[in-house]
Subunit: 131 residues, 2 copies
Amino acid sequence: MSSHPLKALIEAADRAIGAEDFDALMEFYAEDATLVVKPGLIASGKEQIRRAFVAIAEYFDHSIVVTQGDMQVIEGADTALVVMETVLQTSGKDDMPASITRRATYVFRRDTSGKWLCVIDNSYGTDLLNS
Amino acid sequence: MSSHPLKALIEAADRAIGAEDFDALMEFYAEDATLVVKPGLIASGKEQIRRAFVAIAEYFDHSIVVTQGDMQVIEGADTALVVMETVLQTSGKDDMPASITRRATYVFRRDTSGKWLCVIDNSYGTDLLNS
């Protein structure tokens, strides 16, 4: 299912993260979307999500590159669950390695015009259960 | 977040699986929901999902007991992503052990009356990427 239209959408979002183009990045999210910033910390709504991405870029000294690996999309009721290997590369920070591979889970909804918007962005996937 | 209303809902659905009460079980799903039966095999819509559960019950000789462990719920835009430890106990079959623990991912949507319905049921979670 690697040719799913959501693949190109997520790749474009990840490029926007690397380019720190937060206006473009916010286009991918629904107005009342939720981002898991880290286990136990959630950003709700575009304004909080934008501020979280600005803080993350600063924390990593503007060095973030996000790329994708394998992807599976499951669609039901105008909703899509994406499970995806995501590689976060940075200059390294504190005790974090310079390359972190996660199995992310994203939820998208398709609006009446057929446009997909991200409603839940949880790059930690089921590892949330470790916390 | 263990007191989330979706916890009681999922527990009731799992009891319905054990009791093979497929009428009650189907009440949890949206009309056009999707069930991941196994990696690479999907059931779409209530009719297919019901047939899949009937086949699964027969495959395991009517011995299924499903219980839950840790759970996290992330809500955004009237949608909820549930990541949950799920334990499937059966009489064992072929090369499968009698107890299988998975980290499941479920997506629910809240309708205009406030009722949650399951739209994507993927008990394999991010392990779909192994297949």
